[in-house]
Amino acid sequence: MKNLDSVFAAYVIGWGIFFVFFISIVRRTSALRAEVDRLKNSLERK
């Protein structure tokens, strides 16, 4: 089928962008959660 590779490329790139964006959200969330825990622990120690 003509142009099927272009169709796959569009879907793979498109969902790839969503995936990378979602991973960046997950990474930012986990880094901030770790920071919240660290600050809470340091406040408790004081």
Partner: protein, 225 residues
Amino acid sequence: MTKRILLGVVAIALVVVAAYANFFIAPTERTMGVIQRIFYFHAATAWAGEMVFFVCFIANLLYVWKREQKYDWLGVTCAEVGIACITIVLITGPIWAHPVWGIWWTWDARLTSTFVLWLLYVSYLLLRTLIEEPGRRALLSALFGIFAFLDVPLVFFSIRWWRTQHPAPVVMGGQGSGLDPTMSKVFFFNVFVMHLFCLFLIVERYIVEKLRHDVDLLAREAEVQ
């Protein structure tokens, strides 16, 4: 937590169903052939992106009116999710255009106004990095966001007001436009799925803003002690 996971699971499951429908349920278009199947993903993502920018616009208006932080958080959240959608639209469009038009890009009204939309919301995020004081940052970016949204109706109506390279609207395009009934069902299912997926991204991204606020509060508390 459970509701968030459930939303994610349902959204991703429906994405798989939508992909199946795009490739195996929607009929192959007579003149363009298989390349037309990009339309279901491309146009549905564009609709969802424009809806997300509309939510951003409402959040910006509410911030200017009420000055509550939650609206600033929602504004920046929607700007990021909308940029992700429009980035996809700007990439999948040329992938479709190259075999159909013989060119990757042309500066026609729809393509140019969409590119300007992307630039405006990238500028919205850049503006936020330049202002340190939170209240001033929230107000100026909300005002800029209201201005940026003016381009969304221009994007929507560009293919109705001017006849250039981009195809005329096949949905809500008036007399002579329209889709095959199965294509139409598949397209509107994709629109629904893409909105649900964007809602999932908004919920997840909003938590980042809330956690940033918590970190700021705790850091200030730690400084005082």
